[in-house]
Symmetry: C2
Subunit: 343 residues, 2 copies
Amino acid sequence: MSDKKIKNMAEFASVSGISRPTISKYFNDPGSVRDTIRERIEAALEQYDYRPNIYAMNQNRRLTKNIGIVVPYLADPFFTEIARKIERRCIDAGFWPTLFSAHGSQDLENSILDSLRSLKPAGVLLAPLGRASDKSVVEKFCRDVPTVLFDSDIEGVGAAFVGSDNHSFVAQSVEYLVRSGSAPCFFEMRTPANPNANKRRNAYIGIMEGMGLTPEVIKVEGEGWAFEEIGYEGAMRVLSDGTLRSNTVLCSNDRLAIGFLAAAFEKGIRVGRDEGCQMRVAAHDDHPFSRFTCPSLTTVAHDYEAVSNHSVEALFNLIESGGTRDARTERLFPARLILRTSA
Amino acid sequence: MSDKKIKNMAEFASVSGISRPTISKYFNDPGSVRDTIRERIEAALEQYDYRPNIYAMNQNRRLTKNIGIVVPYLADPFFTEIARKIERRCIDAGFWPTLFSAHGSQDLENSILDSLRSLKPAGVLLAPLGRASDKSVVEKFCRDVPTVLFDSDIEGVGAAFVGSDNHSFVAQSVEYLVRSGSAPCFFEMRTPANPNANKRRNAYIGIMEGMGLTPEVIKVEGEGWAFEEIGYEGAMRVLSDGTLRSNTVLCSNDRLAIGFLAAAFEKGIRVGRDEGCQMRVAAHDDHPFSRFTCPSLTTVAHDYEAVSNHSVEALFNLIESGGTRDARTERLFPARLILRTSA
DNA sequence: GTTTATATTTTTCGCGCGTCAAAAGGCGCG
DNA sequence: CGCGCCTTTTGACGCGCGAAAAATATAAAC
């Protein structure tokens, strides 16, 4: 490789013997130039190691190749995992993804959306905070920028929503728990950050009633995204004061269950489906750590792969159609029961 | 606020009655214009909601306001946490941080550094993969871009290194374990991803020998960043085949310990410092989940705050000095023992 | 060999802002 | 009031690239 520094496209055009507009076309879409030309460009690229200035590119393009990925709370491995998959797919499709986390804060979510506007992204994949989101801000953003919502829905906002079917989660967990033992009570936060929590509780109530059973919902105090802590504190309380009537607990999500299991362990309560166990605990999400809880957590898994793939797919379609959104689409993926030892 | 769309700086200059170069100066550094002028600009800004085009800005500036933050594995909450703190400080200082994760892959780390070049960042905060890093690539990058390394050191690379003092971690854990019971063996991966692991092992050996004790290092198989899994599998093996001579285990890091504790639980081995416990387990890092392991994990905590603050500080100094690096500085922060119930 | 459709080149303009030099203006000070 | 310093204005240029139109080249089809 020659170490001659190429400083702009014109210079690269002259050393490669190809006109500048054609080079420009190549960088926008390598497939749009004739094979022989593409080969010559790529040969020159090997030699001279030129890269277009992304700022000059993005300034003039109608649409950048940027894609914003926004999650509510990156410290939750669920989001890390799904963000990783989404990132990968965007890169493979020739886009430039950028990851943002609102870290549980509305102000931060708002200012991320604000920054995102300046980035003039081709599209945005947004998992909103949920209840804590400033709905009007998100709504306005989605009107201006092609956006696909995932994980948490905000009704009517964005061009599409892709997520997991909360009813499917709860149907599987409740059905299994009832069949294999006794009916579960439902353990959740009083004011859940995430709208999925409400859907899960309602599904629980509906399913229990449909089976002729009496639903029992236990709501514990706590705000924010420190779910393990909230689950722990809540469990310490209910395990002490005897409010827990059922010996089977279905937690709204795995992170609460992690706290619950820690509390049960501390209190010397044996959890599991074996002989000698006093209670069973199950949850939803298949958090990456739920394999390593004590006992390992019986849970219901997201179809991470499907959710991330379909989110990206939906966004690409939206981008290709020029951001027109005839009808908002919603796509929910069913969950899969993961039997471990806690229930 | 008027909803008149301002499309460029010239237009904003005319509606605000201030010349364009002065407006430009203001956006580069609000403090560089006279107070009366600044007030008038800010008043106009309230009314018209104009924002400079970041692409046009960055194209022409000698240095952008971008800062790259690169971590090896974002699914590890340790990095999520420190990245969050670093992000915050960059934003407060008027920079535009962007977070990247190599997700444990050398290829990805390389291509992130490659992309980062195009971003022409003012500086980069890099926690390299460590052993898996392509040293020559990282080295070359650090020569071209002002870079501060954190968490994992690569000797001689980058303008500065900021991290935790591994000797301090191990000194505290070993001293405590010896004082409160018996001497620990050291549990680690055979080929650790992170160079800190090697430093911790060597510190362990040195400290044990210094106390007149015989070090015992247990190395378990496994590659990559799935530490919990590796710890679990390794523990299942050593807890079965009797290679474990000591009843006190010091894990190289918390994530291995999480796996270890899961294995011990599964095997019905009681872990803790109470009567009736068969073994003690401690580790290093104070992983956010180590409060919720069963039993809760005795560990040694990073000074997250100091590491993130000082990394950013070092980078800002580097940026202000124009990227000149007279001498590479290294700054290590001591750790703090966190007593919980596992040891 | 001619037609036709497609690809490429040439030319030219524009994007929005940074930066510079020279001229004009504001400000505090005595 | 007048001096000198510092800030702002004026006017102009450059950055690196995208886009559009018209001219030209290429390749396949007839």
